[in-house]
């Protein structure tokens, strides 16, 4: 989970505050000390922590908090505000150049995830109906160009590569020329990873930047970076003047130090966060939502957006109709499973629900394979069986189990689950015209 350690520590601190009807200065001192430790353990930069805690202290010791009827809540609100502003306050949008090509340059240390992010970003931009070119400027790492080509192919973006040319500055210039000639809207330059203390390679970046005049120079930074994150960001910013940051690997159980430090130190917004291995796993970074996730208040907005983006509206209407007419079949069930899968891991989704912090979710081990198994079972049925499950007798069950590599028990379980959901739907659709009665939610 994102910010796992930090999140649970802060929530523990707040629990103590919430229980109190009145807060003394001592309570607040104690709480801020705990917040300080939690942040330090989360790799937040030492200097950032110091000023953060100072701000909290000043605001929390203000008269209106101590006299308030719900002082605990007030403190939480203050921490929430401060966390939000620490991460940049307002969400930043990736603006396209009003005329001509939008040029984006990705930079960062080795292994920060630039190439993967380039692909994810191309996919994201394509959704805005833009024609995107990926330019492979990493001539150093073996097979880096090939990697971008494969990824470009996966997201359906053209890749400009020149395996003969060894000078990334020349490649960049040629790529830009190519993009202009072929009417691309956006070109993304994937540069080689480099250490911020490597003079020669940093100067090369300066050269590339001069030649292609990017609208956006974006630093990719690994969310798991330690105290060093700040130095890295500052040096890159000094040398080539960044316009924004993308946090990668935020789906690790990172304690988020980099996320919380980099924006405040450089004053540059965090544009996106990489949230998984799939090329669609790139999220717009909302400081306020991230703050509430850290404080265990969930992130309903992202959840809703995810659901909207991944569910096909037409299909949803169709499904509703089927539920109403009670003609919901296993075929529909299968489609639903596929849509659930598209939304990402079930655990990730659960974590966005308010109150469903790490602790609440403890012990709930969602077996993602269950979905795959169910799909396999349905796939092993004939169309007739899918539309009319009642014909599935013992022999058929045996055949389906063998075909899907499962056991007869698994087939039984699925059929039973399906019957139950059908019953549940009956209750739902019956609600309008029948008397309201209590109904249970049978589940799986």
């Amino acid at each position: 989970m994102v910010f796992e350690g930090l999140s649970s520590k802060l929530q523990d601190t707040f629990k103590k505050l919430r229980g109190k009807g009145k807060l003394t200065e001592k309570d607040i001192k104690e709480a801020t000390r705990e917040i300080k430790l939690a942040l330090l353990e989360a790799d937040v930069n030492f200097k950032v922590v110091k000023s953060f805690v100072k701000n909290i202290n000043e605001r929390a010791l203000g008269a209106d908090v101590l006299k308030s009827l719900t002082p605990g809540q007030q403190v939480i609100k203050i921490v929430n505000d401060e966390l939000t502003s620490l991460m940049g306050g307002q969400p930043a949008k990736l603006e396209y150049s009003p005329k001509g090509i939008t040029v984006i340059m990705l930079v960062g240390l080795q292994g920060a995830g630039k190439t993967t992010t380039a692909g994810k970003l191309a996919g994201h931009i394509k959704k805005d109906s833009k024609k995107v070119l990926l330019a492979a400027c990493d001539v150093y790492r073996p097979a880096a160009i090939k990697q971008l080509q494969v990824i470009g192919n996966q997201v359906g973006a053209e890749v400009f590569a020149d395996t003969e040319e060894k000078n990334p500055v020349v490649i960049a210039q040629n790529a830009l020329k190519y993009a202009k000639e072929h009417f691309f809207d956006v070109v993304i330059f994937d540069t080689a990873g480099r250490l911020h203390i490597d003079e020669a390679l940093m100067n090369e970046l300066v050269d590339i930047k001069e030649k292609v005049a990017p609208d956006h120079t974006i630093l990719n930074i690994d969310s798991m970076t330690g105290q060093e994150a700040v130095n890295v960001a500052e040096t890159f910013n000094d040398k080539i003047s960044l316009s924004g940051v993308i946090l990668t690997k935020l789906d690790g159980d990172t304690r988020g130090g980099a996320a919380l430090s980099v924006a405040s130190v450089t004053g540059k917004p965090i544009l996106f966060a990489g949230m998984g291995e799939k090329l669609t796993d790139l999220e717009i970074f909302y400081p306020d939502r991230m703050a509430s996730r850290i404080l265990g208040m969930g992130d309903v907005l992202t959840l809703i957006e995810k659901a909207q983006a991944d569910f096909d509206e037409e299909k949803a209407v169709e499904l509703q109709e089927k539920i109403r007419k009670q003609t919901f079949t296993l075929e529909d069930f299968k489609q639903q499973l596929a849509q659930m899968k598209d939304m990402g891991s079930f655990k990730d989704i659960l974590e966005m629900i308010p109150g469903a912090g790490k602790k609440a979710l403890k012990g709930i081990d969602v077996d993602e394979k269950e979905f795959v198994r169910s799909e396999a079972i349905i796939n092993s049925m004939t169309p007739e069986e899918r539309n009319n499950p009642s014909i599935i007798n013992a022999n058929r069950r045996k055949r389906i189990a063998a075909g899907s590599g499962t056991r007869v028990q698994d087939v039984n379980k699925l059929l039973k689950g399906f019957e139950q959901s059908k019953k549940m739907m009956k209750q739902f659709s019956g609600l309008n015209n029948k008397k309201h009665g209590k109904f249970k939610f049978p589940f799986m």
């Binding site: 989970m1 796992e4 430790l37 330090l40 353990e41 989360a42 790799d43 030492f46 240390l109 080795q110 292994g111 920060a112 995830g113 190439t115 150093y140 790492r141 073996p142 097979a143 880096a144 090939k146 990697q147 971008l148 080509q149 494969v150 990824i151 996966q154 250490l195 911020h196 203390i197 690994d222 798991m224 970076t225 330690g226 105290q227 060093e228 994150a229 130095n231 890295v232 990668t248 690997k249 789906d251 690790g252 159980d253 990172t254 304690r255 130090g257 980099a258 291995e277 081990d365 993602e368 394979k369």
Partner: protein, 304 residues
Amino acid sequence: MAENLFEKLKNSLVKTKKSFSGKIDQLINYSGVYDEDFFEELEEILILSDIGYESTNEIIEKTREIITRENITDKVKVKNTIKSVVRDILKKDEDRHREINVPAVILIVGVNGVGKTTTIAKLANMYKSKGMNVMLAAGDTFRAAAVEQLEIWADRVGVPIIKNAQGADPSSVIYDALQAARSRKTDILICDTAGRLHNKDNLMKELSKMNKIINNSSDHFSVYRYLVLDATSGTNALSQAATFNEVTKLDGIILTKLDGSAKGGIIIPIKNQYHIPVEYVGVGEGMDDLQEFMPEDFAEILFE
């Protein structure tokens, strides 16, 4: 030779030194008394070096105890006290001999982007130059072009590689490689794996399967499992070490990217809490930029 290694490691740690030793010197020189303020400053320096809160506390408490007990006031002695506390932690679990018994199979694991593939090239190069015959297994079948990347390295180093297409089951690649290494009488087989975040259960299960396949070959091979850690990473590296150790019982750690300005301070809490020895450190992009980790030297250079 030893001198040379020391120099190289020293150069790579110059940045570390600047931020760590330099600051400690400054602190000791400017504060005459060793009071609360002194230790608070010291705490700041240690935390800024990614040593983590817990180990920082331990170092401070031990130092404080020794200074008070022996009534130390001399500036040089104070510094030496801090140094010896840190060195003792670094030296934990290092009193074993590092030789690898051939035929051996080495499984390389780690999160994404720490430098596993490059490290494998360096290891292969090192063993080859020691006269052993080495084989690589391209077990990262997930990341785009990872197989090609390892292939290019295999070619440069001049060692054979066993591979399959991207998307293939990594366990089957490892299995094939083990068979091949057995029949070709390979001394050392090094297996690459895809980078995986340690909190992804399904990926860790996949790793556990590969590990099992390798363990099954232990009648013929000595098995070693190394975790690759990025020196730039923060205390998250601690949970990486813990989780990977749980899944594949680690034999050692390889710390990469020490040529950056990263401090590698995470080694200290890792050794302190998990007792996993650090085998090698990566100090550059070249094939030869891999060195044995010498705890004494590391501590020495930090405080020189």
